[in-house]
């Protein structure tokens, strides 16, 4: 099949404006199947916007975005089809507060894959187990810690059997002691070979799992390199007005 040969994600000359402000400047990016990308850069550099364009939570004004070889239509008509195999994990978790962890995980598969209750429950429990939260399946989001909520959100995304997972600063809203449990879960996912794009400031995570680290500023990709190269001699980031990435190893690894 032609599609199976296509890269997981391709962005060609993508530009986006919020009003007059240009937030993405002619971005070109190809993400291969199974590749793990870490996207970093100062706040306001367009990293979140970039990944939100991939599942069309944001519209782009110029350029093309292809997911598994399928182009996102300008009118958004095929956005739902594309979202069904592109999972997303948000900074604020965005769990549905009126549903238990289990129900959060069952909703989309039941509505979209049209599977029965028992099958949906089995699938949900499988993924909750994978994020080590099977014991908390019957709890509501308000009864879970931030780290637990984020892991439920990851399980919820996995229940749609996505080919690609997008992480939008998944640990930024967490208390420091909860960051590790979420990162560990993400490392396990990476080991399973899913395509990942992760916006994060966790450089330890980048070192551990990224195939490529991409540095953005002011809507532009300034650098894209494997982590060993990225962290050894950063050419673009020597600009004095830009913060240097945190050279610390994975947080929590050495408390």
């Amino acid at each position: 099949m032609e599609q199976s040969a296509a890269p997981a994600i391709r962005l060609e000359h993508v530009s986006k404006w919020f009003g007059k402000l240009k937030v993405l400047q002619d971005v070109d990016l190809t993400v291969n199947r199974g590749e793990h990308i870490v996207l970093c850069g100062p706040s306001g550099s367009g990293k979140s916007t970039l990944i939100r364009c991939i599942n069309r939570l944001e519209e782009v004004q110029e350029g093309r975005i292809l997911v598994d070889g399928v182009e996102l239509r300008g009118d958004g008509r095929n956005a739902e089809d594309i979202r069904r195999h592109v999972g997303m994990v948000f900074q604020q978790f965005n769990l549905f507060p009126h549903m238990t962890a289990l129900e959060n995980c069952m909703l989309a598969p039941r509505r979209i894959h049209r599977i029965g209750k028992d099958e949906a429950r089995a699938r949900a429990m499988g993924h909750l187990e994978r994020v080590h939260l099977a014991d908390h399946a019957q709890k509501y989001p308000a009864q879970l810690s931030g780290g637990q909520q984020q892991r439920v959100a990851i399980a919820r995304a996995l229940c749609m059997n996505p080919d690609i997972l997008l992480f939008d600063e998944p640990t930024s809203a967490l208390d420091p002691e909860m960051v590790k449990e979420v990162l560990d879960t993400m490392v396990e996912l990476a080991d399973a070979g899913i395509t990942m794009i992760c916006v994060t400031h966790e450089m330890g995570f980048a070192r551990a799992v990224a195939h490529r680290v991409i540095f953005m500023d002011r809507g532009e990709i300034l650098e894209s390199a494997p982590p060993e190269e990225f962290f050894s001699a950063p050419p673009a980031r020597t600009r004095p007005d830009l913060p240097r990435p945190d050279p610390q190893p994975l947080r929590g690894a050495s408390p």
Binding site: L57, E80, R83, N94, L95, P97, H98, I112, Q143
Partner: protein
Amino acid sequence: MSYQFDFSPLLTYWPELAAGIVQTLRISCIAMVAGLVLGIALTALRMSPSRPLRWLAVSYIELVRNTPFLVQIFFIFFGLPALGLRFDATQAAVLAMSLNCSAYAAEIVRGGVQAVPKGQVEAGRALGLGTADIYRFIVFRPAIRAIYPSLCSQFVLLMLNSSLVAAISAEELTYAAQMIDNRTFRSFEIFAVVGLLYLALSQCLSLVLAAIGRAYFSYPSK
């Protein structure tokens, strides 16, 4: 002058009062459900991407909220027959109450929908859910929960305002009171007692609505 208070005729007419209470509750409950459903539909129109639909919903809501309820009742009962739309008094009463309630409910429900964080809708979209599913499964319960107290007081008000449909002889509690008054001339006693009955009905309705709220619209929150 000395008025001799005498509540005994009320005892004779208790079946009429009881029937009036039942009828008041019946038409009020139908109007609450119909009003809420219509109100949600109006909210959907009001938040739709189509400008004419939004305009239609806003016009309707403004019209209903800025005209007297009694005039609305008279228009439906006495006015609409000119267009060939005839209702008996009870039908007209239920229709007027439902339409009136829907406009107020629409305003309240919209507030609830706006109170649901944007991230909830985004999470639904990111999962691939369609707009209808997002509103039905993700937005609905938290939205209703956010505005449930206002909705309940609107429902209590609706029940109290149902006394106005006595003006078109719809047979409910106030209508029964007027009949008894006409026969006994015990106005003070009758209307005092009926007032207290309405008070009791309001209290009961509030309790029932609160129980429904606890059963369907509550979940743990921080």
